[in-house]
């Protein structure tokens, strides 16, 4: 390889090394699933979904379960098809948390409301570009911290 080419490669490497500030790596996931409530339970209302890493890459005491990276709102219970961009440098594993907004106020169980169910599932098969899940909303008025790990 000629000196000129080597020099150019070195300059390019130097330039690139001195050029990147923030580097963000995302992993695309096509997520198919089903959101349901328990038999006989009211099912009217929008469904709010939160997508979390199952655990973060923090070291020692800074490691913790869960870490929300995206959220979506569905018109109601039923089939789900969403495309997610998973942050590879934040954590590992995929958890889906959801709750039914029966009264449409955007708040899970505001004072006086006790019947909005929530649920959580860890998605199997991560990492893969195509994943599926099944989520049943069965526990009223709890955040993901009460359902996982």
């Amino acid at each position: 390889m000629s000196r000129a080419v080597l020099g150019f490669a070195a300059a390019l490497a130097f330039t690139l090394g001195g050029c990147i500030n923030e580097e963000t790596r995302l992993y695309e996931i096509e997520l198919d699933g089903q959101v349901a409530v328990t038999d006989g339970a009211p099912s009217a209302g929008a469904v709010h979904l939160e997508f979390h890493v199952a655990k973060t890459f923090g070291e020692g005491e800074l490691a913790h379960p869960l870490g929300e990276f995206d959220r979506r709102t569905l018109a109601g219970v039923g089939p789900v098809r969403e495309t997610l961009l998973y942050p590879l440098d934040v954590g590992d594993g995929l958890v889906v948390y959801g709750w039914l907004d029966s009264d449409g106020d955007g708040i899970l169980c505001a004072p006086g409301q006790t019947e909005e169910p929530a649920g959580l599932v860890r998605v199997r098969g991560f990492p893969a570009h195509a994943l599926s899940f099944s989520l049943t909303l069965r526990t009223p008025c709890v955040g993901p911290e009460s359902l996982y790990p």
Partner: protein, 224 residues
């Protein structure tokens, strides 16, 4: 307590030096040399064939600077700026002498280079600066003002791994630094000068707060 005492002592000594020097030099012939290193350093654009080397140490900004006069009006310059040892700007540029009179020198300078910053946030990328120097030489003293605008461009890289392949894209953030220096140069001789300056570099304006700084400079020049 110690800091205040040391600052007081330093200020008193500087005051005594200036007062003493002023009286001493008042007895010497007036304006012995119209062009000198201190004027070239703080006013910019040394004459054709002349050069000036500057070292300015201070907090938080320190500089190493070299200027060479290419023609009557054009100067080539290089500089390295350091901020508390964590942020560096190596730069190359040209200066243009815009106006020149017995008690006035106005210089415009354009420089380009790179920014390297380490700390909780690393920053690196191309950097450019446009500035103007106004110097008012009066015998050995050169009060001066520098006003400038600096622009750093910080590239970020986004990588997305899809089933169909990996795609990358770049975006660029902009860091703006308005700059001002107010100072006083002093010619010890035609080839040696000092300067004391107050600096304000508002790094990351307008979303940040920046502290003002101060520097003391030593300048060597020649070939006049």
């Amino acid at each position: 307590m110690k800091t205040r005492a040391a600052t007081t002592l330093g200020a008193a000594c500087a005051l005594a030096t200036i007062l003493g020097s002023a009286r001493v030099f008042a007895a010497e012939p007036r304006s012995p040399f119209p062009e000198h290193a201190a004027l070239d350093a703080v006013g910019g654009s040394p004459a054709k064939g002349a050069y000036v080397l500057s070292a300015q140490g201070g907090w938080p900004f320190s500089f190493l600077r070299a200027q060479v006069g290419l023609s009557r009006r054009i100067t080539l310059q290089s500089e390295l700026e350091s901020v508390v040892g964590r942020r560096y700007r190596p730069m190359l540029g040209i200066g243009v002498r815009i106006a020149d009179a017995k008690h006035l020198r106005l210089t415009g300078e354009f420089l380009a280079g790179w920014l390297f910053q380490r700390g909780e946030e690393y920053r690196r990328g191309p950097n450019g600066e446009l500035r103007f120097r106004l110097a008012i030489p009066v015998r050995r003293f050169v009060p001066y003002l520098v006003l400038g605008t600096r622009h750093a461009f910080l590239p970020d890289l986004l990588t997305i791994e899809r089933a169909s392949g990996t795609e990358t894209s770049w975006s660029v953030r902009h860091e703006w630094t308005p700059w001002a220096t107010l100072g006083l140069g002093f010619a010890l001789s035609r080839g040696v000068g000092l300067d004391l300056g107050l600096n304000y570099g508002w790094v990351g304006a307008p979303d940040t707060i920046a502290l003002p700084g101060v520097h003391l400079g030593l300048h060597f020049g020649g070939d006049r």
